[in-house]
Symmetry: C2
């Protein structure tokens, strides 16, 4: 999907996407140093924006970076950009880079970039269930939403060779996360998501707050062996909500079809989202 932006907000200016550029001495280009966040816009309403901005400022602080704008100013910048673009159903990506570096190693004043991307939430009923392939890797600084996806992108040919739609990282026999999504498994009476070496996703946190009759929804370590006895599995992210996982490493999860509990979670997430739109 081409998500190319129309107008882009850079350091207090709104410019056409083709003119949206940063200088080549930026530390993101030299040293991969930067953080970001991403959230959906539905019917011109940003979804869970406060959760995302909380995390954005937490990521910036963890990386010793100043965002330059406070929360109110950042929200206003997003609003201005949205008015300029006129894309009621879309997504916002905010990137904060290490800034122009005098020596190619020392941080400068961060560059703040806000992009409104073409994006439309898929209808959950039409969402293609996913197959995953596991890979032994632990992300550096998993708790911070950095721009470091070098391993994930390098693994794309591996993913395709294995007929998978995404990679599931594991380490020391424990599964952690997909590069851009959290994972949940469903057992007889629990809905479980890994606790360690993960990015705490906003959608993940929403699922942890749901209630489903006869199920406990909890964070706990999950081993590779646990996957074999899972009845259902799904991944969560801002762009996928809850997407069924029907196979991992070519082994079916449950009966190899999207699960009932996953469907219930997906419905409840959609309701939460629409609550934001119509409130």
């Amino acid at each position: 999907m081409n998500t190319a932006p129309k107008y882009v907000w850079i350091n207090n200016e709104i410019v056409p996407a083709a003119e949206a550029k940063i200088g080549v001495t930026d530390l993101s280009i030299h040293r991969g140093y930067g953080i970001f966040d991403f959230f959906k816009i539905i019917d011109n309403r940003p979804i869970f924006i406060d959760d995302h901005l909380n995390r954005f400022y937490r990521s910036a602080a963890a990386m010793n970076m100043e965002a330059g704008l406070n929360r109110q100013e950042l929200k206003q910048a997003i609003r201005n950009l949205m008015e300029h673009n006129g894309m009621p159903d879309s997504a916002i990506k905010i990137i904060l880079t290490g800034g122009y570096s005098e020596d190619g190693y020392t941080m400068g004043k961060p560059n703040l970039i806000i992009m409104q991307l073409r994006f439309k939430m898929e209808d959950p009923a039409e969402m293609k269930p996913m197959k995953l392939v596991t890979y032994n890797h632990v992300r550096q600084l998993p708790a911070i939403k950095t721009i470091d996806y070098i391993q994930a992108i390098l693994l794309r040919p591996f993913m395709k060779e294995n007929h998978a739609d995404d990679v599931l990282y594991h380490y020391n026999n424990l599964i952690s996360e997909c590069p851009r999504a959290n994972i949940f498994i469903v057992t007889e009476n629990e809905i479980i998501t890994p606790k360690d070496s993960i990015l705490a996703g906003i959608t993940r946190s929403k699922v942890l707050q749901l209630s489903i009759d006869n199920y406990r929804i909890i964070e706990r370590n999950i081993t590779l062996t646990d996957l074999q006895s899972a009845r259902e599995a799904f991944v969560t992210s801002s762009s996928k909500n809850a997407c069924p996982v029907i196979a991992i490493d070519s082994q079916n999860i449950g009966d190899g079809k999207p699960g009932k509990i996953t469907g219930m979670i997906s419905e409840k997430l959609t309701a939460l989202m629409l609550d934001q739109v119509f409130s």
Copy 2:
């Protein structure tokens, strides 16, 4: 040190540094995806350029990227840039990024950037000996010269708190490398550099080819405990050549002064370098 470039080569154009920019949809900015190489220019002569270009093309291939220029074209581009800049003592940094991505995740046609940076080799006699502090970390993809230095830059406050000039990574009790340099230790009759989880530095490879009477120069794993009995230590890189290490984690190496063997290595490296200049 401000190493800011004057003119920059981008995708077949030479432009003033202030106009040297890339679009914000580049995958280096979104996903930290890119590789680079760096070498010195002394008296208008690139030092060990073929070794560096070998590694540059190896890194690009390992990351599924096309450089866009073959070796001859790349050398010509470097020559053109050097003529434009007129900086006989400097350094060249070549960066190849993941390119403009339609969806912020899929690679585009890589952007190739060549920067000539202000840089002057320090006189080995005046080079400040270094103190290191160890840190438990293993770089992802250490063998590829990627732009991923996120952990190193995040550790700069830690380094300063520990009154150190650089960090030395270790993992599973084995030391590996500094973020931008390889390490060697000197024992009674060996000069040893770690073998695994490292970037194979060009200067490191030159040291491995030297001969020093009564010493074997070898690659072998080095434990944290081995550091305590080392007589000397030094780090190697294109910008530092061989720089003495006089303390690690506040423990002196040997007598806490630059070592004699380190000095011999440094002299021999300088001779090799000057050989390139006057040949």
